[in-house]
Each structure stands twice: as structure tokens, then as C-alpha cells.
């Protein structure tokens, strides 16, 4: 019998530690550090060789411009998204340090995926293979060590996605907080996250279809609690920008080169779709994850389509500039979509696609910043 709407929610007898992996905070930290070690080594090595990525160097320049004598409040207010420059201002050591910070974040992302796969009772060998497929790709190396703003935004999105699944499937409002706050954080790091938030809002009705069946108001409120922090952050920033500079969206959109549509609207859309198609090819785990989810949670599988749709929009709007960020995003979402206790067939397909994905990303990563990184590494 359904309980009245105002009673306490069903009791969750499971302690949070029981669903964390590893169970203790200390071990989780050690796991994250261990997973990030290769990327830290790479970042340190790159720093020692004086190799700096363009995005991190650019971030340092923006941060430096904010500290110029005579800088006004208006200049600060135009520095959207503000968290990247703020991080860069706080961290000494220039672009190299930014690379190390991103490398540390890589461990956190991989740990989060690992934890989710453990909770989904995916076999250990397959977890290792899947994570190696994602974390071992040069695109991931590049984003971790060379694109702090984009990568931090991506980490925030991953945390948000994991939280959203807890929120919608397990009824944990902790997950709702994680989803909402992480998305706001992501937007304050990377304007592209605005579209991630949009995709999340689109996906919620599908992902929450089973839980909120027959309760449209519950779906609406779930969307509201997840997107509110993002909307509040952007609106508040826009208000401050308007009061102090007189423009509302100067920093938010145009400063990042968005909405230029150099190839025209239709041409831009075609190019964006083609670009995302290429990214999907490089991230077969997404397709496998979505398809394997179809028999168990068909609506959730449909909801996953919001992610490529979001990537098309970001590419079309010109918000999404860094090499391979979409591939990493799709791969991680694919990992999150791996169904619980996959049968042998799904496990085998996942294993094959993990290898295929790794081959694809290696083969197709000789572009942009990744190519620069590989050349620096002598590969």
C-alpha cells in the first residue's frame, strides 16, 4: 500500500558506508590517489619538460589579468566562468600545477566509476578492463593533464550523474544535493556544463519514470531540485554582471566564443552532429551501456540519448571546444549505465567494446591538443 505523501520516506536501513567502495574514507582516498598516480607522473614529467597545454596556459593568463593593478569589480564580474580563474589564482606554479590538479581529479573520476561498477556487481576483471579502456586513452590523459577547466567541469558532471542515479533510483536526497550542487559547480567551471545541466533536466523524466510513475508533479519537482543550483548560480552571476558592467550575457556566452555559427545555422548543426557521431564511435561503451540498459529500464535508456543530444547542442552553439571532452563524457556516462549484474553476453560485449574503444581513441586521437601531448611524449 502506498504510504501517504507526507510520511517519512521508506526507511533506508543500509548505511552509506555499505554502498561506498572501499568502505572506509581512508581507503577511498588511497584508491583515488593510486588511480591518479599515473596521471600525476605524466603531469610532472610534462611540467619538467616545459610542455604546457594551450587551455591551461590560457587559464593562467585569464587569472593573471584579474590581478592586474587597477582591475575593477567589473573585470571580475566579466570573468565567467569564475571558478577556473579562481583556482588558477589560488594555485602557485603556473600551468604545470594546473595539470597536476587535473591529474589528481582523474583518480577521483575513475574511482567514482569503479565504485558504481562495484555496486552494480560487475565482475572485477571487467571493471579493470572498462576503466583501462577509458582511463588509458590519450584523450583522457590530455583532458586530465591539459584542460583543467573542462576536466573539473567533467568531474563535476560525473559526480552529478552519479548523484542523480542515487537520487532517482535509491531515493537518497544526498544524491540530489550532489547532482544539483555539482552541476552548479560544473557551470561555474565550464560554460559547456550549462548544456549538461539541460541534458540532465531532459533525462530526469526518463530516468525517474519508474520511481515517479503516475506522479508528474514529482518529476517536475525532481527536475527543479536538480537544476535549481545551476539556474541560481547563472542568474545570480548574470544579475551581478548586469549591475556592474551593464551586460547580461557578455561573459556567459560571447566571451567563450559561443553562438557565432560561422558555418550558418544548418551547416553548424550538420557539423555538430557529424562531430558527435565521431565521438560516439570513439566511445562505444556508451552505446553498449545504453543498449544493455534497454531491456531492464527502457525509459532510462531513452533518457541517455539526452547526452549525445546535449553534445550536439554544445558543439552547435560553439560551447564545446576542447579535444575529446565529449568522448570522455560519453565513455563515463556509458560506464554509469552498465546494468547491474550483467550476464555473460553483456559482459563479453562490454569487454570487446572496451578494447575496441581503446583502439579507436588511440587511432583517432591524433588531433588537436591530444596530438600535441602525444608528440611531447614522443608517441
Amino acid at each position: 500500500m502506498a504510504s501517504p505523501p507526507y510520511s517519512l520516506p521508506p526507511v533506508l536501513t543500509e548505511r552509506w558506508s555499505a554502498v561506498r567502495w572501499p568502505a572506509t574514507a581512508g581507503r577511498r582516498t588511497l584508491t583515488r590517489l593510486a588511480l591518479s598516480a599515473p596521471y600525476v607522473v605524466l603531469a610532472v614529467w610534462l611540467q619538467a619538460r616545459g610542455v604546457h597545454s594551450l587551455p591551461n596556459a590560457q587559464l593562467e593568463r585569464v587569472a593573471g589579468s584579474l590581478s592586474r593593478p587597477g582591475a575593477t569589480v567589473g573585470a571580475v564580474t566579466r570573468a565567467f566562468p569564475p571558478l577556473g580563474p579562481a583556482i588558477a589564482r589560488l594555485l602557485p606554479g603556473g600551468p604545470g600545477t594546473l595539470g597536476i590538479v587535473g591529474a589528481l581529479g582523474a583518480g577521483a573520476v575513475l574511482h567514482l566509476c569503479w565504485e558504481r561498477l562495484v555496486r552494480a556487481s560487475v565482475p572485477r576483471w571487467l571493471i579493470v578492463l572498462l576503466l583501462a579502456g577509458v582511463g588509458g586513452s590519450p584523450i583522457f590523459w590530455y583532458n586530465a593533464t591539459g584542460n583543467l577547466v573542462g576536466f573539473v567541469g567533467l568531474i563535476a558532471f560525473v559526480v552529478a550523474a552519479a548523484g542523480l542515479l542515487d537520487f532517482l533510483y535509491l531515493g537518497r536526497t544526498t544524491g540530489g544535493y550532489a547532482a544539483g550542487l555539482s552541476m552548479a559547480f560544473a557551470v561555474l567551471c565550464d560554460p559547456a556544463a550549462l548544456v549538461y545541466a539541460l541534458s540532465m533536466a531532459i533525462a530526469i523524466p526518463f530516468l525517474g519514470w519508474e520511481r515517479f510513475r503516475g506522479e508528474p508533479i514529482a518529476i517536475l519537482s525532481a527536475v527543479a531540485v536538480v537544476v535549481f543550483p545551476t539556474v541560481a548560480a547563472v542568474t545570480a552571476w548574470a544579475f551581478l554582471e548586469w549591475r556592474f558592467t551593464g551586460t547580461v550575457n557578455h561573459s556567459l556566452l560571447f566571451a567563450s566564443g559561443a553562438f557565432g555559427f560561422p558555418a550558418g545555422l544548418a551547416g553548424g548543426l550538420r557539423a555538430a552532429a557529424s562531430h558527435v557521431g565521431w565521438e560516439l564511435t570513439c566511445a562505444p561503451v556508451f552505446a553498449v551501456g545504453a543498449v544493455s540498459l534497454l531491456p531492464r529500464r527502457p525509459m532510462a535508456a531513452v533518457g541517455l540519448l539526452a547526452v549525445p543530444l546535449d553534445l550536439v547542442l554544445t558543439a552547435w552553439f560553439g560551447l564545446h571546444a576542447q579535444t575529446g571532452q565529449g568522448i570522455v563524457l560519453l565513455s563515463i556516462v556509458g560506464l554509469m549505465a552498465v546494468p547491474s549484474r550483467p550476464n555473460r553476453i553483456i559482459a563479453a560485449v562490454l569487454a570487446v567494446e572496451a578494447v575496441a574503444g581503446a583502439v579507436c581513441t588511440v587511432a583517432l586521437s591524433d588531433v588537436g591538443g591530444t596530438a600535441h601531448l602525444l608528440r611531447a611524449m614522443g608517441l
Binding site: 501517504p4 507526507y6 510520511s7 517519512l8 533506508l12 543500509e14 517536475l220 535549481f228 543550483p229
Partner: protein
């Protein structure tokens, strides 16, 4: 007042039968049960049923029969008197005088269930008791009175009646001034100490001086301080809520743990229900208490009725309460507050545990069982657990919706977070469950503090006791009238200000006794809450001015950074509060209320009005109790368990 010869004669006649020189054998259930059957007061079937209940719950047979309404109190105690071989006395019909009993402690007598009701010509004291009058008992009473005694049987109600009448002034004084006499430092009777007054005056003078000398910078600095203080206070709450959310998977007492406490293990539980001019909600109260899943014979409901409140008394009588409900008359006198009434009730409380409910409360049926389990799980240092409060009339109007938003985050996230962080917990107005003995050791409630519950929670922490939360809900009536709301809220905010002033009298000692973390937590929560409400109007004003004037025009008073920071803090603080409110109602599955959280900034304006009223009252009427009207809702509370 000396007794008259007539009184003495009456007592002599009543006590004609002398006590047996040797106490009789201990009464067994069978003996009293058989006696009641033999005397025709109950039937054999009723006795068998009661014995069955006794085997299950371990309760006393008399208590079972009383609670079930199968026998009246006088009938039961008259039968007991016959069994005990002592005369029965109806204390309500005996003229009482107090001339020589002032040295006695009525609280102790209430616990030991005896009362001296007069003195015979030969100097023997006549004592009425509702406990078996054994020789040991008589010896103890004689030692206390320093005179020979004659014991008579009476009902427990008669004992209480006698104590209330004999010790009226003593009870009133203890309830009103007990804490102040025993522990002045924790009493809000003194609003501001001399030292605090000096500090406040110095701050005020410094502010005035700097405003005259440098008005622009003073405004800017004050504005920055207000904005930062606002954000720190709100930020603290937000962090605590996040911790509370993180701990939502930790259930204080699981359903299995609550169910595992068998009826036989359940202790006596006292429920205090202070009522004042609440005749309209008393019938609901009886129904709600009857819904509690607890052996009725182990319940003691003390309905605390003010001496001058005939209307509520009449309504309560008309509701035909069961025998577990006792009317306790609270002597009239200042301050006429709920905590004073509760202190009177505490004197007569005989339960191992005690809880306070308001007259309109609708607790979860298993709340008492769950609390017993929580106490057993929490160990002896846990002296109090607070149940969550929420509203049954949440969607009555905009105010009740916003009130529900606030309560949902407060009780479901904040208190859980505070408990998890081992920070002081300000108790809510009702549904605080105590270990009764520990509550007495804490000194009971401060009748001069208008949020006596919040103060008690903090005092418990200051005295190194632990206050926790229990995962059970009491549904109340949300205030649905704006003026009534402001009255209620101004009392709460004034109480928080009082509590802040009381516990910050010796800040260094506070830090030494509870540590930095708890002291800062207390300051941010109890002190920060009124401050954040008081900060709202200046921040709104700043927002309005900044909308009308460009920042460059304000630069002479507000340097760009100050204005930017102030506005950013204000926006961020409001967004955080909107967000936790949204999450709170989402957790409660009141999905229709989620978007109402966007109106939270307006709701806070109401708080601001109440806060300034509270500040004014703190200065001019510090101990005045703003009475909240209940029973205004047109929404019927849902029947049955939630």
C-alpha cells in the same frame, strides 16, 4: 495554618482502624484480582483478560484495570485498603492545612506517593498513601516527619491533589524560580548581565562615534559585516544540512529495533500536555493520544491546565478522558508560561521517560516505543531525543506551505546534521523525549526563557549531556494566520536571543566546558539565526538601492568590492536557503511544495518583521509569552496512523 479540633476529630474517626503491627504479605495480582471479583467490582472474565494482559506486559493488575476503565480509582484503592488492612481516605474531602510541612519536598513526596493530611490530638501525623503501607515504609515516613504516623490508603490522584493543595505556593515558587535559585547563570531571568551590558554599550558607542566621524566607511564596514555574517550563518546551516543529508541512510532506530522492544520491557512513560485556552483542540488530543501504540497502563498523561482556564478544563472533562489522563492544575502566578506549567508537571511525573506534546499534536503511533529503543541504543549519556515535527495542514495557504518547507529542512536535515556532528541541538517545541531523572538534574525548563525547549537542549550540551534525534514524526497544525505567525515567530526569535545571552555570559567557560566546535556551533546556530533575520531588511534595502542607482553612483559610500560582495552574499545565502527548503519537502514527498521554496526570500521578510519585534520585546518585555492561537485551521487532521 493550624488545624481545627473538628478536623482532628474527623481524621481520628477516619483512622479508627489502627495499622496492623506487622505488614501483611505482599499483594499478588491474584489476591487483588480475586478481591475485586469477590466484591463485585469486576467480573471473572474481566479479571482473566487483565491477567492475560499482565502476562504480556508485566504491568500491575490494578493499572491494567484502571487504564481499561474496568474499575474506578476509588474502587481499586478501597479494595487495596481492605487488603492492606488500613482505612481508605478521600483526600479531596479532608480539610488540608500546611502549617508544619513546609520543610518537605513535594517532588519527593509525589515520587514516593504519600502526603501528610493532618495531625491527630496525640501528635500522630495522618499520612495518605497509594503505596502498600509496609512497616519499612512507615518507618521511612516517620523518620522524614520526625513523628509517629498513621497510614491510610488513598488513590494516586488523591496524593497529587493533596500535594498540589498543601504545597501550592512551594510548587509555584519552585516552578517559577527553581532554576534561577539553583543555577542563576543558566536562568534567563536576568536578561543581560552587567558585563554584557557594558560590552553592548561600548559597541553601541563605538558605532555611533564612528558613524559621526566617518559615516561612509562606517556604513560600508557595517554592510560588509552584515552581509558576511548573513552568509556565514546561512552557510553554516547549509553545511549542517548537507551533513544531515549524508546521514539520511543512517536510521536512528529501525522498524525492527522498535518492534523488538517487547511490551514487558517498556517502562512507564509520562506525557506532559500543557494546555492554555485550547478548548477547541482538546477532543482531538484525546483521540491522538489514544492512537499511541503503547500499553495504556504504562502511560501517564498529565494535562497541565492553568488555574484560571476553566474553559479548557471543562472541554477536557467533557471529552471523558481515560483514567491514564490526569489533570494537573498549574498555580496562577508570574511568569505564566508553558515552561512553568511543565515544571509543575515534572514534579508529578512518575514515568522513567517523559515527553511533551502540544494539544494539537498527532505523533506517529510508535513514537514512544521508538524513543525507548533510541535511549537504550544511545546509552546513558543520551538524555533527550527529539522527534521530527511536520504539519498536517501544509497546503492550507501560502503561509502553511512556507512553514512546512522550513520545518521539513529543519527537522529532517538540520537536526539530523547537528546530531551527527555532535553539536548542540535546540529542541523543538514539542515531541522532546527525556530521561525524567536526567531532566530533573538539568533543572527542568527555564520559565523565563520563551524558547525554553531550545535553551534546555543547549543547557544539556553545556552540561555535557547528549541530545539526539529519533526518526519519528509528530504532525502539528501549521500557523495559518500572518499576525499569529509573527507573534509566534517573535517569541521564538526572542527566545533564541535570550538563550544566546544566557549561554554567552561566560564564553571562555563555555568553550572550556564544551569545546570550540560546540561553542562555535551554538553561536552560529542560536545567535546566528536571529542575526540573519535581522540582517534581512538592510540587505533588501541594499538590493533595492543597487537596482535604482548604478554602482558608480554608490561608490562614495560603497566601494565596488563591498557592494559586489554584499550583493553576492545576499544572493548566495538566499539561494542556499531556497535549495535546502526544496530538498526538505522533496524528502518528505510533498512534491507540490517544492517550487514554493522560491518564495522563501519573502517568507524571510516575515521573519525579519518578527525579529525586530522580538528585539523590541527583549528590551521592554523580555519575559512576556506571546501566545500562539491553535485550532485555527479548517483542515481536519488525517485519521489513523501515518
Amino acid at each position: 495554618m493550624p488545624q481545627s479540633r473538628g478536623q482532628e476529630a474527623a481524621l481520628d474517626r477516619t483512622a479508627a482502624a489502627a495499622l496492623p503491627t506487622r505488614a501483611g504479605a505482599p499483594l499478588t495480582a491474584d489476591r487483588i484480582g480475586e478481591a475485586l471479583v469477590t466484591s463485585g467490582r469486576i467480573s471473572r472474565t474481566q479479571l482473566d483478560w487483565a491477567l492475560g494482559v499482565q502476562r504480556r506486559t508485566g504491568s500491575r493488575l490494578g493499572a491494567i484495570l484502571l487504564a481499561a476503565g474496568l474499575v474506578s480509582r476509588p474502587d481499586l484503592y478501597q479494595t487495596l485498603a481492605e487488603q492492606w488492612g488500613v482505612p481508605y481516605v478521600d483526600v479531596t474531602k479532608v480539610p488540608l492545612g500546611m502549617s508544619t510541612w513546609e520543610h518537605l519536598d513535594p517532588a519527593r513526596l509525589a515520587r514516593e506517593l504519600w502526603v501528610p493530611i493532618g495531625r491527630r490530638r496525640d501528635g500522630t501525623v495522618v499520612v495518605a498513601t497509594s503505596q502498600q503501607p509496609t512497616a519499612e515504609r512507615r518507618a521511612e515516613i516517620e523518620e522524614e516527619l520526625q513523628r509517629p504516623v498513621v497510614l491510610m490508603a488513598t488513590t494516586d490522584w488523591d496524593v497529587d491533589y493533596g500535594l498540589r493543595n498543601l504545597f501550592r505556593d512551594q510548587l509555584l515558587d519552585a516552578a517559577s524560580h527553581g532554576l534561577w535559585r539553583n543555577d542563576k547563570e543558566h536562568s534567563a531571568r536576568t536578561v543581560v548581565t552587567k558585563r554584557q551590558g557594558a560590552v553592548l554599550l561600548a559597541c553601541l558607542l563605538a558605532l555611533i562615534g564612528s558613524a559621526i566621524a566617518a559615516p561612509g566607511p562606517t556604513v560600508a564596514v557595517c554592510s560588509a559585516i552584515i552581509a558576511c555574517g548573513f552568509l556565514v550563518s546561512v552557510g553554516f546551516k547549509f553545511v549542517v544540512c548537507l551533513v544531515g543529508a549524508y546521514h539520511e541512510t543512517f536510521v536512528q532506530v529501525t522498524d525492527e529495533e522498535a518492534a523488538a522492544v517487547g511490551d514487558a520491557e517498556l517502562p512507564m512513560y509520562t506525557i506532559l500536555v500543557p494546555c492554555y485556552r485550547e478548548a477547541n483542540v482538546v477532543p482531538n488530543l484525546m483521540a491522538n493520544l489514544a492512537a499511541l501504540d503503547y500499553p495504556p497502563e504504562k502511560l501517564e498523561v498529565l494535562l497541565l491546565l492553568e488555574e484560571d482556564d476553566e474553559e479548557t478544563r471543562a472541554a477536557a472533562t467533557a471529552a471523558r478522558p481515560p483514567a491514564t489522563v490526569t489533570f494537573v492544575t498549574v498555580p496562577r502566578g508570574q511568569p505564566q508560561t508553558k515552561p512553568k506549567a511543565c515544571n509543575v508537571g515534572l514534579v508529578f511525573a512518575r514515568g522513567e521517560y517523559l515527553v511533551i506534546y502540544d494539544a494539537e499534536d498527532q505523533p506517529d503511533p510508535d513514537q514512544l516505543r521508538r524513543s525507548v529503543a533510541a535511549f537504550r541504543k544511545g546509552g546513558p549519556s543520551l538524555v533527550c531525543v527529539q522527534a521530527a515535527l511536520n504539519y498536517f495542514n501544509a497546503e492550507e495557504n501560502a503561509l502553511t506551505r512556507l512553514f512546512t518547507l522550513e520545518y521539513s529542512f529543519w527537522f529532517d536535515y538540520m537536526l539530523t546534521g547537528l546530531s551527527a556532528m555532535r553539536l548542540p541541538i535546540p529542541l523543538g517545541g514539542t515531541s522532546n523525549h527525556f530521561r525524567t531523572d536526567e531532566l530533573r538534574l538539568l533543572g527542568g525548563w527555564d520559565p523565563f526563557n520563551v524558547t525554553e525547549d531550545a535553551d534546555l537542549g543547549i543547557r544539556a550540551a553545556a552540561l555535557n549531556r547528549r541530545v539526539g534525534v529519533v526518526n519519528s514524526t509528530t504532525f502539528e497544525e501549521a500557523n495559518n494566520a500572518y499576525r499569529n505567525f509573527v507573534r509566534q515567530r517573535s517569541r521564538w526569535i526572542k527566545g533564541y536571543l535570550q538563550t544566546t545571552l544566557v549561554h554567552l555570559r561566560h564564553p571562555v567557560e563555555l568553550v572550556r566546558s564544551v569545546g570550540w566546535r560546540q561553542a562555535i556551533g551554538f553561536a552560529l546556530l542560536i545567535g546566528g539565526t536571529p542575526i540573519s533575520f535581522l540582517a534581512m531588511p538592510p540587505l533588501y534595502l541594499l538590493l533595492a538601492v543597487s537596482l535604482l542607482l548604478p554602482p558608480s553612483a554608490m561608490a562614495s559610500v560603497y566601494p565596488g568590492w563591498v557592494l559586489w560582495t554584499s550583493l553576492a552574499n545576499f544572493l548566495l545565502g538566499n539561494a542556499l536557503m531556497v535549495y535546502v527548503s526544496m530538498m526538505g519537502v522533496f524528502k518528505r514527498r510533498r512534491h507540490r511544495l517544492v517550487l514554493w521554496a522560491l518564495l522563501n526570500p519573502l517568507y524571510w521578510l516575515l521573519h525579519a518583521v518578527a525579529a525586530y519585534k522580538a528585539l523590541g520585546q527583549l528590551v521592554f518585555r523580555p519575559h512576556y509569552w506571546e501566545k500562539t492561537d491553535h485550532g485555527l485551521t479548517s483542515v481536519q487532521p488525517p485519521a489513523g496512523p501515518h
